[in-house]
Symmetry: C2
């Protein structure tokens, strides 16, 4: 497979907005070449858990995925959201196939250690089956991943969608040059957080430390950039952080 | 593909019983040769709809699948039940892959005419992609279908799981000799409904009319047998109606 592969990750800001999601799926379907979509879940799982009056346990500001919550995220992410996205992509002419990690055993995860904090049925990605990914891409299928993986022993695990996207991109990079695109609510990494026009065009391992030191890159953006630099260091050709709007227009912050 | 294909359908009596489901998945995983699983949904979707206080509209004793109910069955059948089955089969050493009809566009359905009764988002199977089915089976994947299909235009449709099983078996029969197995709560078609030992070993197009005329085959069994005879007439090698217990032991009523 000589042609490149694009892995795009979307989150709640697209999934929770029916009009934005429809526009995005049309733009994603129009992207040339082999591609893969990874999606988070949005607010629907939280709303469903509330309606079911599940007790949400939090530790240090993070939700515990107990058995009830695992069932809810499996229903919502791997069921409703995934199948609506796949059906929407089919309608847009893109031959999508939804895959949890258990499907074809394509992604396995390891349940996170219960020490020091037991987050419940939460996993970290262990292995992506590049061979199966390649066979699916060769038959012109477009894999669509929710962040629900499995441990290979019958247990489903809720994973971080950003981490799924970077693991899948690393798996794809073993097949062909791979570009990873993280869509979020801003147009890119901004030099001035109040100015949407101040997108930093490129960040490299060399240009990053001063941006972190002077506070241009701060808080939630730090793990995003550091994960992106790590992915690039491990073989992903580029990582772009950008808005979902106008996908394919070349805008956003490119990390290489 | 010379080797035969076995298509097995299970319903609520297995899905709703965790111990029965686990035993069944182990037996299914041990079946030799290429195989496909089709599953219904069980009572979980109804229970979830009740907990969400969805208004269940019934016409002539049949539930209307409105948008709220479609979302519930998509979550439960294509999400929770499908992924639990796939993860359970993976744990049993069977390389399962869950597929709604939208996934890979493998099964399309047509929304049922709103005349004389509008059942909502309910579909009848239109087309099964035998080529994709064959490619998946050749790579030793075991497709696992919920009864959630799509119309190709972005709408998911709730289908009858028995009909999905027979359509998938007909699609498989274009690839290789195919045997279809319907699991239900009895050991087979019984000559005496109170005697589980009175299983009729074989029913054919010739032996069926007298069994219907004398009332041996009655009520809910009539459409099952007639659908089975139709499937056999259209190219499925055999249809077996049996219990899920002891799958592969050759028991049950065989229609050919």
């Amino acid at each position: 497979m000589k042609e490149g592969i694009t892995v795009v990750k979307i989150g709640g800001n697209v999934i929770d907005d029916a009009a934005a999601l429809k526009r995005f799926l049309g733009e994603f379907a129009s992207l040339p070449g082999r591609k893969i979509l990874v999606h988070g879940g949005g607010k629907l799982a939280t709303r469903l858990a509330e309606r079911l009056e599940l007790k949400v346990r939090m530790v240090e500001g993070r939700r515990i995925t107990d058995k009830g919550m695992l069932d809810v995220v499996t229903m919502v992410y791997a069921g409703l959201v995934n199948k609506q996205i796949v059906a929407g992509l089919q309608a847009a002419g893109c031959n999508a196939i939804g895959l949890s990690g258990a499907d074809g055993n394509i992604v396995t995860a390891r349940r996170r250690s219960p020490e020091p904090i037991d987050f419940g049925f939460v996993g970290d990605i262990e292995r992506v089956d590049s061979d199966l990914l390649g066979r699916l891409l060769e038959t012109e299928l477009t894999p669509v991943f929710p962040a629900i993986m499995h441990d290979g022993c019958g247990t489903l695990l809720n994973c971080n969608a950003d981490s799924v996207a970077s693991a899948v991109a690393l798996g794809a990079a073993r097949l062909a040059p791979t570009d990873l695109v993280y869509c979020f609510e801003k147009r890119g990494v901004l030099r001035d957080p109040d100015d949407e026009q101040s997108v930093i065009a490129e960040i490299t391992a060399e240009s990053y430390p001063p941006l972190k030191a002077d506070g241009t890159v701060s808080r939630g953006m730090i793990p995003k950039i550091e994960n992106a630099l790590k992915a690039v260091g491990q073989g992903v050709r580029s990582v772009t952080i950008r808005s979902s709007e106008g996908l394919g227009d070349g805008s956003g912050t490119v990390i290489r």
